[in-house]
Symmetry: C2
């Protein structure tokens, strides 16, 4: 029952249609093809995937629970627009969880896993060389997910999936300069540390990697002028 109880909701089932919808929309968001604030009409998506609104609705609700879609009552579903406060929380959570994850990954080290990681690094390098920004963004997130899968800790994996998806939106919204080439080298260093079973180095490199990503963000505090109005209105 341990292995069979996994296909709960966000399992990689992919056989049923609602998963196809969810993963399709997720991929579009992670690849920055769907921008924050975009309206996700039920009929619209339903027609694309040849599905009824019932299925689209469940997929959107799952995405809402993951935090990458906002559902406003009687208004519809929209791609989430994380606030700077959200961004800080997401990265703080990642700084807490991911060093622990790499620690567990070291416990699971094996030729098979090292192979998977290095194959992934090759994919990342290739996409970057190709100048394929969308693939680069997606693969960069996938790297972190892969390490989490390696750790074998399914709860951390679930949490991290959520954090990665949100991070993708955050980076899209708040990144200062276009420096897409930053992460790949870090990833290689992390893999090297894992392969050498050097826990402390792996943790430290993961932490500094996350710090560098966050340092590239410009998290303007009051969020321009609109937030001012909302603040006054809220009080």
């Amino acid at each position: 029952m341990a292995a069979k109880s996994r296909p709960k909701s966000d399992a990689p089932d992919a056989s049923d249609r609602v998963s196809r919808i969810r993963e399709g929309v997720t991929a579009a968001i992670l690849e920055h093809r769907l921008l924050p604030g975009t309206k996700l009409g039920e009929d619209e998506i339903g027609e694309i995937y040849g599905a009824s609104r019932t299925l689209v609705r469940t997929a959107l609700q799952q995405l809402a629970h993951e935090g990458i879609v906002n559902i406003e009552k009687n208004r519809g579903a929209f791609v989430a627009r994380p606030t700077p406060a959200d961004a800080r929380e997401v990265f703080e959570a990642r700084r807490l969880i991911e060093p622990t994850i790499v620690d567990h990954a070291v416990d699971a080290v094996s030729p098979a896993w090292i192979g998977r990681l290095q194959r992934h690094l090759a994919e990342e390098r290739e996409a970057e060389l190709r100048g394929d920004a969308r693939a680069s963004v997606r693969l960069s997130g996938d790297f972190h997910r892969l390490v989490a899968e390696m750790s074998g800790h399914s709860i951390y994996l679930g949490f991290l999936k959520e954090l990665i998806a949100r991070s993708s939106l955050i980076i899209l919204l708040y990144r200062r300069h276009d420096t897409p080439a930053c992460g790949t080298n870090h990833h290689a260093g992390i893999v090297a540390a894992i392969r050498k079973c050097d826990r402390e180095a792996a943790r430290a490199q993961m932490l500094s990697h996350l710090n560098e990503i966050e340092a590239e963000l410009f998290l303007k505090d009051p969020a321009a002028d609109e937030l001012r109005l909302a603040d006054v209105l809220g009080a």
Copy 2:
């Protein structure tokens, strides 16, 4: 938009009917009135809450995402039955997150919050004195949630809600002896440390509290004999 964007899915909206269903079932599970493995028929629940199966379905899907309900395809929804491995993961995650949460809670210390915490402690003591095991279990979890709310970290709060709900099932399944009076004193000590703004003491007490809870569990590794069969069958 920062404050208004909160009512996403698991918000304390409670005004719409699906939230009422979800919170009703959640309370029943947290109070150990619904036992693991119990079938949650859609018609059954729908009739109780006077709602159509459509609404029940969305509520159950949300609970499935929180990990306290398993939905098996074409079979229905059941109260989750966490495995010993799940239990270890849940408590490891709690040991990682909750010390950080109390740390943040210290930052938010204020007379109002201290009041809320102490009022909660009183409620816990009263329920325990009254011998109301169900209320005790629920309030014990609520304490941890309250601290998370105090921390102001909405992501940690969301993660912790999930972990607390699963913990309730785990304790029900794997607790060795009936020692319901264990937690209250610990909670009081944590509140005292928070009030004194003693970060290290608060973190340490939370950690030892969690360790004691887990130490009272009997996480039998192969889970009796049924798992043996499943293992053979899986291979």
